[in-house]
């Protein structure tokens, strides 16, 4: 079925970005256009969300696994080969579309309050809409080429937004870091696409055509394609080894962090793997590798998060950890659980970031959790919603995270990947610990001297009520995919129509596993409680006496390691180029040639000395030479 609505959904935020960018650049700075920016900046995503709901509703009335296509125009047509600019809403992109537009809209609304006093209000919303549009382009693209364009534009938008406070050099560095690391991943991604393009001999390059032609491709080459595509996902979704940009990306304004971590950008990698699920289903070894990377990233990030003091960095590592879960899911072939965790995570992570942003604003841009404390009674709305999000991410029953995370762990156990399951459980414990560490230290623990003395900045209403919407989502979303063990029907997974692997557990086993997970989570909470609430004396920032503690607090010096291993050798190589190869060898050889020509010319010029007798002698010698030649070569023959 065809419809023009999907194209409109993609174009709306771009249009908003264009209008606001134009106004920001060309309207004199003296005029206050913020109300206009709010109207356009929120209007575009809200309208997109509304249209998204309409399209998804339309799609649901169609017979099973039908999709709504929206061809815009033919982009490349070489003979019978065609690449169209076309958008498609199927079950997978419908979920992503709803998550991105709904949560994106809420974050936009929240950002109005957060950014109201900023000089670059219009610029911020132009970038924000652009970010959303890029993500929608990525999601709704019906061929990998268009997906890649969205993929790149998302990278560009994140670069612009991370470096939004561009007066501080550190922020520029963080933006550059994010951009460069994403380029590394994108190189893998585009190589994978190129290889796939060469391997398949269909006339089209849209997803349907690619997947129908997969059977004719050699399995080894297919594995290579899968690996290269996953390298792109590593960069975009911040997995080992390309994750180091994510914590630094906290340099941007907090709504940006919320948008990057919840709705856009980092989820792109998971979405891409799920989108290519027919491909990944043929190469289970690569899938296992993906799951392994996901498990390792989840564990490493959870360890880092447990030792951070910056509220946003804790949440950043927590995102990386949760993305690890999603990659475990999609790697092991339970794509719909991965996407479901993505959706649930989008709700509670957006909520966590927005709550953190509210705390940061209220405390005059303080980000160290050990300088907060006792905020529970002073920011009750933020405290309550943050508690919901924290419980959701911890995986306490009835909250969204419980169903989404336990489904992943149960599947890992059921399919026999017990190592990954064990890592997942350890991560669940650490998650409970570090999230409640954050919650207890910020809201419950006795307040610190500094935070108590200064009055809080009052929060605008637009920064508070989106929290409640998201809290409701974090609370109730889990029931959408209620497992059969609890009397549900995993409606979400059925609706997705993804090529999931099947692995069944008996209900009893599932109860035991889930119970175990809850127990582990409660243990983490108890540990955080004992450490940060019980002590009567005021909390001090942790002092790291042991070597491994300070190593973890410094994220195992991995940034330093990358600096030594990659950045410095590269810089050394560039210096070598700059000092030796370019000036000496390349320029030198050219200069040498010039000197040679000049020398030869100078020597030849000396022949022309104006002396008549000299000319006569030269003449004589030349004629003699020619005569001699004629005599020997020609005269000798006769």
């Amino acid at each position: 079925m065809n419809s023009s609505l999907p194209s409109l959904i993609v174009l709306l935020p771009f249009f908003g970005a264009g209008v606001m960018g134009f106004m920001y650049l060309f309207v004199p700075t003296g005029r206050d256009l913020r109300r206009f920016y709010v109207a356009v900046g929120i209007g575009a995503p809200l309208l997109a969300a509304l249209l998204g709901l309409i399209v998804v509703g339309e799609m649901l009335t169609l017979p099973d696994s039908a999709s709504i296509a929206s061809p815009l125009y033919s982009w490349i047509a070489i003979g019978s080969f065609e690449i169209d600019v076309a958008f498609v809403v199927d079950q997978l992109s419908a979920v992503m579309l709803l998550v991105v537009t709904l949560i994106g809209s809420l974050i936009h609304i929240y950002a109005v309050g957060y950014m109201w006093d900023d000089q670059g209000f219009g610029k911020f919303f132009a970038y924000f809409n652009f970010f959303l549009g890029a993500m929608l382009l990525l999601i709704l693209a019906d061929n990998p080429i268009l997906l890649f364009i969205g993929w790149e534009l998302v990278g560009l938008a994140s670069y612009l937004l991370i470096g939004f406070y561009h007066h501080d050099t550190a922020n520029i560095t963080a933006a550059n870091k994010a951009f460069l690391l994403n380029r590394v991943g994108d190189f893998g991604f585009v190589s994978g696409l190129g290889l796939l393009f060469v391997l398949q001999n269909q006339s089209g390059f849209d997803f349907v055509a690619i997947f129908s032609g997969l059977g004719g491709i050699d399995a080894t080459m297919l594995s290579l394609v899968g690996l290269l595509l996953f390298v792109g996902a590593m960069g975009k979704s911040a997995q080992i080894p390309l994750y180091v940009w994510l914590p630094d990306a906290m340099a941007g304004p907090t709504p940006v962090s919320a948008l990057i971590h919840a709705a856009t950008m980092v989820t792109a990698g998971v979405y891409m793997v799920a989108r290519f699920s027919p491909l990944y289903n043929r190469i289970p070894d690569v899938g296992l590798f993906i799951a392994g990377i996901g498990a390792a990233s989840a564990l490493l990030a959870a360890l880092f998060a447990s030792w951070q003091n910056d509220i946003k960095k804790i949440l950043a590592y927590s995102t990386m950890s949760q993305l690890g879960y999603m990659f475990i899911a999609v790697g092991l072939g339970e794509y719909s659980n991965g996407i479901f965790h993505l959706a649930a995570h989008a709700f509670f992570k957006a909520l966590l970031f927005m709550g953190a942003g509210a705390v940061i604003i209220a405390l005059h841009h303080e980000q160290d959790i050990f300088k907060m404390g006792g905020l529970g009674s002073r920011l009750p709305a933020v405290r309550r919603t943050m508690l919901v999000a924290t419980l959701a991410i911890t995986g306490i029953p009835i909250f969204a995270g419980f169903f989404s995370k336990d489904a992943i762990l149960a599947y890992a156990f059921a399919s026999g990947h017990t190592t990954i399951w064990a890592v997942g459980v350890v991560v669940a414990f650490l998650t409970a610990y570090y999230m409640f560490r954050l919650y207890f230290v910020v809201f419950v623990a006795p307040s610190q001297q500094s935070s108590q003395s200064s009055p809080l900045v009052p929060l605008p209403r637009s920064m508070v009520w989106p929290l409640f919407v998201l809290a409701a989502g974090s609370l109730f979303l889990g029931f959408w995919n209620l497992p059969e063990a609890y009397g549900g029907g995993t409606w979400f997974s059925h609706e997705l129509h993804l090529a999931d692997h099947e692995a069944h557990l008996r209900f009893a086993e599932e109860y035991v596993l889930d119970g175990f997970n809850v127990l582990v989570a409660l243990l983490g909470i108890a540990m955080a409680y004992r450490k940060f609430v019980r002590p009567a004396h005021p909390l001090n920032p942790p002092v790291h006496r042991l070597a491994w503690q300070s190593a973890l607090a410094n994220t195992l010096y991995i940034d330093t390691l990358y600096d030594r291993l990659i950045v410095r050798p590269l810089r050394g190589l560039s210096d070598l180029q700059d000092r030796l190869i370019d000036p000496k060898i390349i320029d030198g050889s050219l200069r040498g040639l010039v000197a040679l020509y000049r020398g030869v010319a100078a020597q030849s010029a000396r022949l022309q000395n104006g002396n008549l007798r000299w000319y006569a002698l030269t003449f004589l010698l030349a004629v003699s030479g020619i005569s001699l030649y004629l005599l020997i070569a020609i005269g000798g023959a006769s």
């Binding site: 022309q608 000395n609 104006g610 008549l612 007798r613 006569a616 004589l620």
Partner: protein
């Protein structure tokens, strides 16, 4: 009275070599001119000799024709030498190096 043609060739070669030697070694323009004439006449001699060796009068005709041309050329050459002398009041060929590389006219 027949003379061995080799003698004619020997004389012609001698004359030509003298001419070359004169052009290269002498500096006076008049002497250089004389030497050029010497070479021309050496060639004339060879042409006439060959003409006799082969029963073909073409060579003699060319030689006679050339003597006429040389006479005309002599008048031009002498006029040029007079003009050159008026420029610098010398006939030394080494004095005229205006066309050398790097010299301003």
């Amino acid at each position: 009275m027949t003379v061995n043609p080799d003698a004619y060739f020997a004389v012609a070669t001698l004359l030509f070599s003298l001419g070359i030697l004169g052009v290269i070694s002498r500096r006076n323009l008049l002497v250089i001119y004389l030497s050029i004439e010497l070479m021309l006449n050496a060639v004339n001699l060879i042409l006439a000799t060959f003409s006799r060796l082969h029963p073909d009068e073409g060579g003699t005709m060319i030689a006679l024709f050339m003597i006429g041309v040389i006479a005309a050329e002599a008048s031009l050459f002498l006029a040029v030498i007079v003009q050159i002398y008026r420029k610098k009041h010398t006939l030394d060929s080494d004095a005229f190096t205006e066309l050398a590389q790097g010299k301003k006219l």
